[in-house]
Symmetry: C2
Subunit: 142 residues, 2 copies
């Protein structure tokens, strides 16, 4: 439990008390080797498989949203039917594999800065995100 202090810190900074449910959520989210994308349902399943702690859906939703508010997680809108979340909170872009229904990160350095010529008076750009949909390349055909 080397990272436990960091989780407690993240929780406290999010205005949340460090309870065992929330620390478990942190372990799943922030202990992973690599960042990853998930739905709430998937997160609940991971927690259930990885621990014998029972965590209610409400707690997972509340904790995830608290982390999003603080910038410890990002929400990726892709599909109207459910939210995807991202533990990679750096500025980056995505491939979305339409066949596997999987997000794949594209590092910011792998996309030339997006140059938008149009401006809206009185408004400024806060963020720019690129989503590239990909499918199998059956290049043999045609």
């Amino acid at each position: 439990m080397a990272h436990s202090d960091q989780y407690i810190d993240k929780l406290r900074k999010s205005g949340l008390r460090p309870t065992k449910q929330r620390i478990k959520i942190c372990e799943v989210l922030f202990d992973a080797e690599k960042t990853f994308h998930f739905t709430i349902k998937e997160l609940v399943k991971i927690i259930e498989n990885q621990a014998n702690i029972k965590v209610s859906l409400a707690t997972v939703y509340n904790t995830v949203h608290a982390f999003i508010r603080k910038g410890y997680l990002k929400e990726i809108p892709l599909n109207a039917s459910q939210s995807y979340f991202d533990t990679n909170v750096t500025h980056h872009h995505h491939f979305f594999d339409e066949e596997e229904n999987k997000l794949i990160d594209i590092h910011q350095d792998d996309v030339d800065e997006v140059n938008i010529k149009r401006i809206i008076p009185g408004k400024k750009i806060r963020s720019v995100e690129v989503i590239a949909k990909i499918v199998s390349d059956n290049q043999s055909q045609k």
Copy 2:
């Protein structure tokens, strides 16, 4: 009713019979001066205000999805809580005004081609979309 034939054509090509409900939906969607963005709820409200035809939610959903399948409408994922649709089916990008919750088109010519250096073996890019979130520019401060 000059455009009526076009609507009937669109409906037939979508595999739908031209009923008065569907023609009304077409009028709202395709008769507008400019292309526009809408949610299903907004579309139903427009129809109710503009006609004394009653159209059920189910019919609106079904017709909109049939048009999406045919490419007569596009769906814009923005927000997990509800779908936005677009009568502009050309390849283009969007500003999303986070304060007004409104989409604004960015013409393809107003964005330099997005150059993604990374490739995924066996996959090809089908589409690339940019969403730039905008907020008020209170430039007076700081």
